[in-house]
């Protein structure tokens, strides 16, 4: 370890973080202003700055990696970081799953008088009946009632198959990379990217179906809230993951990565498995039971 410690690459001076901070601040200030009646353009400027920053920053890291500046120890720093970054994402979803479970286990039954809340039900909304999926909300004037809940065995089941299959294809690509079979690598990745974007497309179609046919909206009480926030953030993460896979695909086509040095590929594959696992949680707890 002594030898590798000497080689640890410490970059000197970087402009990307401050550009990233300006991009982040522009995005969120623009969006907060948009919520209070301003136009949305400032948010898009901020996002453009962020995309520019990511392009430049990742580009620099790729370049340094190709130049062989990263020792095995640097590689290990990347591995620890990506792993714990994914864990932080898991905890972000945990907050929304927590909200879902709390609503199903506590707040809805309590509004109907469960536990020692008979007076709550009597005084607030005596007509209210606990149910899940909750279609008839306690105060119908304030929130829209959904006509129907989203079933599990139509599109969501197909989407489950699509995402699980994409987990297989990305593993196929990884094995091909390790055996240096480049065409299989490219095909495996291309299939994964296609399945990823197919999933996102079908989710979008499902949203249209929910709004138009089922009357299920973000504003349809706690069922709509948890449904759209959980599936929405998941869909956003799938879009991110598929985009990252697409970049990995382009890099693979340009001849990047070697059988024993391809952490960027692995990091994206980890991320892809993470969105896969989150989806299984969604399928079970949001759609199915």
């Amino acid at each position: 370890m002594s030898a590798s410690a000497e080689e640890y690459y410490v970059p000197h001076g970087t402009n990307w973080p401050i550009i990233g901070s300006i991009g982040l601040a522009t995005t969120v200030i623009g969006f907060a202003n948009y919520l209070h009646g301003s136009s949305i353009w400032m948010t898009f400027v901020g996002l453009a700055i962020l995309i520019f920053m990511m392009w430049g920053w990742f580009g620099q890291v790729i370049k340094e990696s190709m130049e062989g500046k990263y020792s095995a120890q640097v590689d290990m720093s990347f591995r620890w970081s990506m792993g714990w970054f994914i864990f932080s994402e898991v905890m972000f979803f945990a907050a929304f799953f927590g909200a879902l479970f709390y609503a199903r286990m506590f707040s809805i039954p309590w509004l109907d008088g469960a536990s020692n809340n008979a007076a709550t039900a009597e005084l607030l909304w005596p007509e209210f009946e606990a149910a899940w999926p909750l279609l008839e909300v306690p105060l119908a004037e304030k929130f829209e009632q959904a006509k129907m809940a989203m079933g599990a065995w139509g599109l969501p089941a197909i989407n489950t198959v699509i995402l699980l299959t994409s987990g297989v294809t990305v593993t196929w690509a990884h094995h091909a990379l390790k055996k240096n079979q480049r065409s299989q690598l490219v095909w495996g990745l291309a299939l994964t990217v296609a399945l990823g974007f197919l999933f996102v497309g079908l989710q979008a179609w499902e949203y249209v179906h929910a709004y138009n046919d089922l009357g299920l909206k973000m504003t349809s009480g706690i069922y709509g809230s948890t449904f759209f926030m959980l599936t929405g953030f998941h869909g956003f993460h799938v879009t991110m993951g598929a985009t990252m896979l697409l970049i990995i695909l382009f890099r693979a086509m340009k001849g990047h990565f070697s059988p024993d040095n391809h952490f960027a590929f692995e990091a994206v594959a980890w991320y892809w498995h993470f969105v896969d696992v989150v989806w299984l949680g969604l399928f079970i707890f949001v759609y199915w039971i």
Binding site: Y9, V28, F143
Partner: protein
């Protein structure tokens, strides 16, 4: 892989000059300095708000400010001190010290380290800008309970929400960097159980940060959609529950209070052995106690909500689990006292602050035990007793440890000794005034004075006046501290490489004072 070429181009050149040095730096010492200065500015800003609060409470009746502005002051004071003063100060210390303590050339991810810091000035500018907005700054308390923060909040709340998002991104990146550094960058021979306790406690703190900052991000995101996109997470009319907000918030909030105290435990565990001239008593039990505290911190959150409404079984569980935390905390206090037992003690300034910590943090710990008992918390909840409790653990706890760390390590950072006489004056001035400030608040709290109210009943007048006088004096003491800091940076008696007689650790044993811009380009030998 050719590594020889990468070596020469970044070898041993010093810092760039001018403002851009600080904007583009990837050096852990520079970034540590930036964090520490930001936290000092925030300390004085949040402190100025505390002065407004204490001035209004100097006498009963409404004197100086509107009640809504008073509430903005308590809210912003809390947010700025928690997220702006205490947390960045510990991250700054981590940046300065962890690479030197484990024999690493720098943090594991130097560019991301820069970004972790440079998000913060933007976040706090956004937060502070709410004071100038129509409808005023957030005024719902630093815990921003729904529906005060959703249905009834001012427009500026959205800027607060996004500021919290940015702080969360910064904290998560900072924590990831610290974990990667500690797990991957230790010098050969620096096994986990040889690491200084400051490194250990920061490793555990970083895990807490990664686990709970995203939950806070989730909570403010739900607030945002409840406010603007028609969701009903915290609205019973749609099947949600405002109490759910409190559960999610405190699932973040309780580990958060340990995030603000575990690094302090590490600092105190470094200082006391040096000035008692004895090795730390019970090193491994300190490690296990820190880990136990961290694990327990995830299982006790609802003790902040005893009066909110919860099944009795829940109250009992959360009460017992909370009281359990006294065990590992007690282990720590016992170990510090045992380290001093029969030691050859001297009382230089860092030791004074560390001893102040041990005594007054314990006072805060005991009042915490009282608050943890569900039946009596019904009386204490939301009174000044709570205010007294958490200021004893956060001011005379966390802040005291940060100041102790400054006096202990500043000779290593700058090569200059601070002025011992001024340091002692700073300690006694602060310690007398901080007790004048917070100790009477126990009594007025037990007697029933509620927190976050600009006016109070006449029987609380004397104690409030004493408290305010203590507050002004304590605030002034920290301006005096600013003078000491600047004076020490500018010059002073030269420190030796060891700095303190018998100080241990790589930073004292193997590095000169001041520590060079790049330390440990070659990993040191660890015995």
């Amino acid at each position: 892989m050719s590594t020889a070429t990468t070596h020469d181009e970044h070898h041993d050149h010093g810092p760039a000059s001018g403002l851009m040095r600080w904007v583009t730096t990837t050096n852990h010492k520079d970034i540590g300095t930036l964090y520490l200065w930001l936290s000092f500015i925030m300390l004085l800003t949040g402190g100025a708000m505390a002065m407004v609060i204490r001035a209004e409470l100097f006498q009963p009746g409404l004197q100086l400010v509107e009640p809504n502005f008073f509430n903005s002051m308590t809210t912003m004071h809390g947010l700025i001190m928690v997220f702006g003063a205490i947390m960045p100060a510990f991250v700054g210390l981590a940046n300065w010290l962890i690479p030197m303590m484990i024999g690493a050339p720098d943090m594991a991810l130097p560019r991301m380290n820069n970004w972790s810091f440079w998000i913060l000035p933007f976040a706090f500018t956004m937060l502070a800008s709410t004071l100038l907005m129509e409808g005023g700054a957030p005024a719902f308390g630093w815990t921003f309970y729904a529906p005060l923060s959703t249905t009834y909040a001012p427009d500026s709340t959205d800027f607060f929400i996004f500021a919290v998002h940015l702080m969360g991104i910064s904290s998560v990146m900072g924590a990831i960097n610290i974990i990667a550094t500690i797990l991957n960058m230790r010098a050969p021979g620096m096994t986990l159980m040889k690491m200084p306790l400051f490194v250990w406690t920061w490793l555990i703190t970083a895990y807490l940060l990664i686990a709970v900052m995203p939950v806070l991000a989730g909570a403010v995101t739900m607030m945002l959609t409840d406010r603007h996109f028609g969701t009903s997470f915290f609205d019973a009319a749609g099947g949600g529950d405002p109490v759910m907000f409190q559960h999610i918030f405190w699932f973040f909030g309780h580990p958060e209070v340990y995030i603000m105290i575990l690094p302090a435990f590490g600092i105190i565990s470094a200082i006391i052995p040096t000035f008692a001239r004895k090795p730390l008593f019970g090193y491994s039990s300190m490690v296990y106690a820190s880990a136990s505290i961290a694990i327990l911190s995830f299982m006790v959150w609802a003790h902040h909500m005893f009066t909110t409404g919860m099944p009795v079984a829940g109250e009992l569980y959360f009460m017992y689990a909370t009281i359990l935390i006294a065990v590992p905390t007690g282990v720590k206090i016992f170990n510090w006292v045992s380290t001093m037992w029969k030691g050859s003690m001297t009382f230089e300034t860092p030791m004074l602050w560390a001893l102040g910590f041990v005594v007054m943090f314990t006072i805060g710990g005991f009042s915490g035990l009282m608050l943890g008992v569900a039946p009596v918390d019904t009386q204490y909840h939301d009174t000044y007793f709570v205010v007294a409790h958490f200021h004893y653990v956060l001011v005379t706890g966390a802040l005291y440890s940060i100041i102790a760390a400054f006096y202990y390590w500043v000779p290593k950072w700058t090569g200059n000794m601070y002025d011992e006489k001024l340091g002692k004056i700073h300690f006694w001035w602060s310690t007398i005034s901080v007790n004048l400030l917070f100790f009477p608040q126990h009594f007025i709290g037990l007697a029933g004075m509620p927190r976050r109210i600009p006016d109070y009943a006449l029987q609380f007048a004397e104690f409030n006046m004493i408290s305010s006088i203590g507050g002004f004096a304590f605030g002034l003491a920290q301006v005096f501290f600013l003078y000491i800091v600047v004076k020490t940076i500018k010059g002073g008696e030269k420190a030796t490489d060891e700095v303190w007689e018998g100080a241990t650790g790589l930073e004292f044993e193997q590095l000169p004072s001041p520590a060079p811009y790049h330390s440990f380009n070659t990993a040191p030998e660890v015995k």
